[in-house]
């Protein structure tokens, strides 16, 4: 497959209205390049941008980190456990 699985949590899932989606990407795309594709589909996420963190395959990642088809990307609002 040439998609990445995108998981959304908490307020991000709430605003997007989905908890999971799949985006088609070419290999080597960065998280920063993935974001416009995601918000194109879920524009309600736009105002959350500055509060979000991201994980790739279960580890925190930066916007310049690359994503490959088959990866799992997670959209993480500010954590609030405890």
């Amino acid at each position: 497959m040439n998609g990445v699985k995108v998981l959304l949590f908490g307020a991000a899932a709430d605003r997007a209205g989905v908890r999971q989606t799949e985006l088609s990407v070419h290999s080597g795309v960065t998280l920063g390049e993935l974001w416009p594709i995601l918000v194109d589909r879920y524009p309600a996420l736009v105002p959350m941008r500055d509060t979000l963190a991201f994980a790739v395959n279960g580890e925190y990642a930066r916007m310049e980190d690359a994503v490959s088809p088959g990866d799992e990307v997670a959209v993480l609002p500010p954590v609030s456990g405890g």
């Binding site: 307020a11 994980a55 580890e59 500010p78 954590v79 456990g81």
Partner: protein
């Protein structure tokens, strides 16, 4: 022992399970659902969700950080998911150390780190709507100074 659970937490068993003959101090922190109140509304319960297994691994990382920084004989952290009613525990941290200073410091460190790095989220369900804590996203619009409405 680091666990994320769906059911209620047996706090007594966790605390007494940390007692060891080589430790003289056991510090425990329990986070419980608090009924906040504002403008005539009140919190009815909290609801937690997690990104697993990342959240499980982050709890283990916190345990490893503690063992690097302090002399401890036992560390356990259990976090509950789903609905947690008022006065019920959502998180329990137990640290045993030979001496009390490290036990106190490490248990405090654990809860601060949980709130920083563990992908768990809580939704406050109020009598008049809900709010995702930290994001201020939700359905409450009438009361909060926290700009719940502006994001909707």
């Amino acid at each position: 022992m680091f666990r994320i659970v769906e059911e209620s937490i047996d706090v007594g068993a966790l605390v007494t399970g940390a007692f060891r003959p080589d430790c003289g101090a056991v510090a425990t922190f329990v986070g419980t659902t608090r009924v906040d109140e504002s403008s005539g509304a009140s919190v009815e319960y909290l609801e937690y969700e997690a990104y697993r297994p990342m959240a499980d691994r982050k709890l283990e990382e916190i345990g490893a950080e503690i063992r690097e920084r302090w002399e401890v004989g036992h560390v356990s952290i259990v976090h509950r998911l789903g609905r947690v009613d008022p006065g019920e525990p959502s998180v329990v941290i137990v640290v045993a150390s030979p001496r009390r200073g490290p036990a106190f410091e490490a248990s405090r460190y654990a809860i601060e780190r949980i709130k920083e790095i563990v992908p768990i989220w809580k939704r406050e369900v109020w009598s008049d709507g809900y709010v995702w804590v930290g994001s201020q996203v939700g359905t409450r619009s009438r009361h909060e100074g926290r700009n719940t409405a502006s994001l909707r």
